[in-house]
């Protein structure tokens, strides 16, 4: 299968890669670009562990063809902190113990950030429905939901 040449932007940096037409973005991130923060939990878009944003829109990278990245901007968990400074969501997840095993955490954070970018003042119900596509088997979601709500409140206070 002839490979496609893709020019894209990942976490603010220009990036080029070759991929077959049937390769997923998740496979290219993990196996070619050494960006293993996005995890494969299901490969079918049901668990959200591979969440990234594509031009600001939340997507499951396991459901996206790598070729679709052409000319677009991708953000992964590796691009969430600014240098040494964690994103407020990352910091709050740590402070409030909103992770146990940590495998869902990158996807959960990307999804939560996409929510707060769109809706800085979500209700608990809105957070729960937004994150319904991100499975966590350890926490029972309680601390994750609290962390997102508390971050939103902090960020509103700061702005």
């Amino acid at each position: 299968m002839a490979k496609l040449h893709i020019s894209t932007t990942i976490n603010g940096e220009p990036e080029e890669f070759l991929c077959t037409p049937d390769e997923t973005m998740l496979d290219v991130l993990r196996n070619q670009l050494d960006l293993t923060g996005a995890k494969e939990g299901c490969g079918s878009g049901d668990c959200g562990a591979c969440s990234i944003t594509l031009d600001g829109t939340l997507v499951c990278s396991c459901l996206m063809l790598a070729a679709e990245a052409e000319g677009k901007a991708i953000t992964t968990i590796e691009g969430m902190a600014e240098g040494e400074t964690l994103h407020p969501l990352q910091q709050k997840f740590l402070e409030e113990a909103a992770l146990q095993c940590g495998i869902c955490t990158p996807g959960m954070l990307i999804a939560a950030k996409a929510l707060l970018d769109e809706n800085p003042d979500p209700t608990e119900t809105e957070v729960r429905f937004w994150l319904a596509g991100n499975l966590c088997r350890c926490t029972g979601y309680d601390k994750i939901i609290r962390a997102v709500l508390d971050t939103a409140a902090d960020m509103r206070g700061a702005s």
């Binding site: 993990r30 196996n31 960006l35 293993t36 923060g37 996005a38 995890k39 494969e40 939990g41 299901c42 490969g43 079918s44 049901d46 668990c47 562990a49 992964t76 968990i77 590796e78 969430m80 902190a81 964690l86 990352q90 997840f93 740590l94 402070e95 409030e96 113990a97 992770l99 146990q100 095993c101 940590g102 495998i103 869902c104 955490t105 990158p106 954070l109 608990e124 119900t125 957070v127 729960r128 429905f129 994150l131 319904a132 596509g133 991100n134 499975l135 966590c136 088997r137 350890c138 926490t139 029972g140 979601y141 309680d142 601390k143 994750i144 939901i145 609290r146």
Partner: protein, 749 residues
């Protein structure tokens, strides 16, 4: 019980591995790779039950890009007539589970494996392997496996002198059950069923294995125990254990399901054959088809009480599905079922039944939720029958210090009664309910466990601390260890790094499982740290030229012990570390202990549901977990265990189950159709931590990981009963089941 003198134990510190986990840096097993690495893939049986007559791998071997092909012939055989125990596992079943030997025993059972340049080539090669099967009738459900004309899975298995699918029994007995029932005013006997459910960890099984030409082998894998991986891979491949270095990758959930190996021995053999590092991962579908769920079950529970609520006798009869090879968690079911109660006459008996499903693996308090389910449902019905509050009925019969359990032990001091009295007094228990809403309660027990643990505590030259233990951190145990070590040393917890050692760098440590890790690891960390503190005092004594006994360690520094010791300025950890070279050399100590003194854990749950009468959907609207944890070393992660266990119980009670088609193939092998709770399915889960310290542990720790799942099945079911007036005895309480029962009632009215 919080000790006001404590600075770090009981603090919600930030976990030492936290920054790695929230930035995507943490390396889970599938995140690792090596130069020259190739990919392995498993060919799995398309039949639920079939004799493997022959396997021809020649076409696969000839495919360009294929580097190695293997079958069961490459795995060490453990003949079925000689048990070979490794922990609680038997290698006779393990060698047949990792790859089908005489027979394929379930749809998805590994039959062969291939390593190739890409995963796609490996998958293509699997299709070229020709397997000649003799397809047999299959038995999926317990009743199918126990029927007179059932297909017998193993010709070497007999029960009562006849060929059978019953692999064994476990029984506990106390007093005279018949006499006890004769004393009762009310006796209720009911039949229950539960369905197999999967642990549902979000990270599929994965490993990377490199075998050098001299057999030196390195394994990175997702497991609950690197020493278990080393031992099992050694036994199954014939490699010596000292040649194997098993490195624990970060683990993305396990809940018991990663206490055994699936891919590691296959990747090891493929790596040895190919001379290349081999990476293998399971797809979610493979996880669901071929890794351990827990058992489905059926049970009959009979309990008798006097009018005042005194239990006179209780009996539980259980059948648990093992999957294709023996090993259902019968011990957990029959041992934990009646454990919360002081019962004069009790009897539990459980059967381990093989059937054509994937072999079960441990799942969070293995067997105990099944054991508790029927008992806690019958207690609910008895309470109603005699007009007693269900918590009062449990309080009346609650096990306490000195109670002799039906499964044997005499209990030490413990906080089960406190979980009930706290529940009774809890605002949740006394809150009003709306239309179509109901409230349920239930209690549960888990044994907890001790066992082997090793730790090393080293002081760095700049006066900080590196602690190494041998237990994979599955849910924040590093944070608890950092708190304990900081407390003992009297220094800031941030000065402590906690590492998980691999099999070459730390002494033997048993699995992360059984709710044992913080119990056991904090014991060895405490012993190591105390030795380090003794050394630090000796160094100070040397500097001051006084007797070491005249030095004490307080708040992170050595001080003269009282006025008679002499007047010296205190020496801090950093000062002593800086002078270590002139006073005696490196500062560090290790401990290896087979820990004992783990005591059982108890908890009580309160659940509110609202049932939609039109759709049959039961929705949990409020949930409270009350539990004796001994000592909450890191309360936030203790709460997390309580909340996560409750969420799994809610899933088990309401939605999760394996569905099979008529050919014996799992029909819902993915997260879309195997419906685990998502965020919008659940309310916040309240927790109430009770601390009755375990006197046999230096910090009072009991296990906390497993008890939270145990009461949940019955708590949800009892709530649904309260909301609908219907006693559902078969899980899950999915919308079709509830709706059907509502329709039947409507038709009868």
């Amino acid at each position: 019980m919080s000790d006001s003198n404590n600075k770090w134990i009981g603090e919600n510190t930030i976990r030492p591995d936290g920054a790695d986990k929230v930035t995507g840096r943490a390396a889970f097993a599938a995140d690792t790779s090596m130069p020259g690495m190739i990919w392995g893939k498993v060919l799995r049986s398309p039949h639920a039950h079939a004799v493997i007559k022959s396997i021809d791998t020649s076409k696969a071997e000839a495919l360009p890009g294929v580097k190695a092909v293997m079958t069961a012939a490459d795995i060490v055989d453990f003949p079925v007539d000689t048990p070979v125990a490794l922990g609680i596992q038997d290698m006779r079943w393990m060698c047949r589970n990792v790859m089908a030997r005489e027979k394929a025993l379930f749809h998805g059972h590994p039959v062969a494996a291939v390593a190739a340049m890409t995963e796609a080539i490996a998958a293509e090669a699997c299709k070229l392997i020709e397997v000649d099967y003799d397809v047999l009738p299959h038995a999926i459900e317990i009743d199918d496996a126990l029927a007179d004309d059932a297909p017998i899975l193993h010709d070497w298995m007999e029960f009562d002198g006849k060929p059978s699918n019953i692999a064994g029994t476990i029984e506990h007995s106390k007093g005279d059950v018949e006499a006890g029932f004769a004393e009762a005013d009310v006796v209720i006997e009911r039949d229950f069923t539960t369905r197999p459910v999967h642990q549902g960890y979000i990270e599929p099984h994965a490993c990377l294995v490199s075998v050098a030409s001299d057999n030196k082998t390195t394994i990175w894998s997702s497991s609950q125990g690197q020493f278990m991986v080393r031992a099992m891979v050694g036994l199954l491949t014939g490699l010596t254990q000292s040649d194997i270095r098993a490195i624990p990758a970060e683990i993305g959930g396990g809940f018991g399901g990663k206490t055994i190996v699936y891919l590691e021995p296959l990747a090891t053999i493929l790596s040895k054959k190919s001379g290349r590092p081999v990476k293998m991962t399971m797809t979610r579908e493979e996880v669901m088809r071929a890794s351990g769920p827990t058992s489905g079950s059926k049970s009959t529970i009979k309990i008798g009480v006097k009018k005042d609520g005194t239990i006179t006798a209780a009996e539980g009869l259980y059948w648990l599905q093992a999957g294709g090879l023996p090993g259902a968690p019968v011990r957990g079911a029959v041992g934990c079922a009646l454990a919360p109660y002081d019962i004069p006459n009790g009897h539990t008996l459980g059967y381990d039944v093989v059937c054509n499903r994937s072999k079960v693996a441990a799942y969070r308090a293995p067997g105990a939720p099944i054991g508790a389910f029927g008992v806690e449902c019958v207690l609910d019905e008895l309470a109603e029958e005699i007009g007693m509050d269900p918590l009062d009925l449990r309080l009346k019969n609650a096990a306490k210090e000195g109670t002799e359990a039906v499964h044997g032990p005499v209990y030490p001091v413990m906080g089960y009664v406190e979980s009930l009295t706290s529940a009774k007094a809890h605002e949740h228990y006394n809150a009003p309910l709306g239309p179509n809403q109901g409230r349920g309660v239930a209690s549960g027990f888990w044994f907890n466990a001790g066992g082997e643990s090793s730790a090393q505590v080293n002081i760095t030259e700049d006066g900080n601390v590196v602690v190494t233990t041998g237990h994979p951190d599955i849910g924040g145990s590093r944070a608890g260890i950092a708190n304990i070590c900081a407390e003992l040393l009297g220094i800031d917890y941030k000065r402590i790094s906690v590492l998980i050692g691999d099999t070459a760098t730390i002494g033997f440590s048993n699995l992360t499982g059984g709710s044992r890790v913080l119990f056991a690891s904090s014991m060895v960390v405490t012993e190591s740290t105390r030795t380090v503190i003794r050394t630090l005092c000796e160094l100070a004594a040397k500097i001051w030229d006084i007797d070491p006994d005249a030095v004490t360690w307080e708040d992170g520094e050595a001080r003269p012990a009282g006025a008679n010791a002499g007047k010296f300025d205190p020496l801090t950890l950093a000062e002593l570390a800086a002078r270590a070279n002139e006073t005696g050399g490196p500062i560090g100590a290790g401990a290896q202990v087979n820990t004992t003194g783990a005591e059982g854990g108890f908890g009580t749950h309160i659940c509110d549901v609202e049932v939609d009468p039109e759709l049959g959907i039961a929705r949990v609207i409020r949930y409270t977990v009350l539990m004796d944890v001994g000592r909450a070393v890191h309360p936030a992660y203790v709460e997390g265990q309580m909340q996560g266990g409750a969420a799994q119980a809610i899933g088990w009670a309401l939605n999760e189950e394996y569905l099979y088609d008529k050919d014996g193939k799992v029909d819902n092998p993915g997260f879309l159709d195997y419906r685990m709770p998502v965020a919008s399915d659940l309310p916040m889960i309240d927790t109430h931590i009770i601390e009755v310290p375990n006197p046999k542990h230096p910090q009072g720790v009991r296990g906390v990981g497993e008890v939270p799942l145990v009461p949940g099945l019955a708590a949800v079911r009892n709530a649904v009963h309260n909301a609908t007036g219907i006693r559902f005895n078969d899980l899950p309480l999915s919308p079709p089941r509830i709706l059907a029962a509502l329709d039947v009632r409507e038709a009868a009215e």
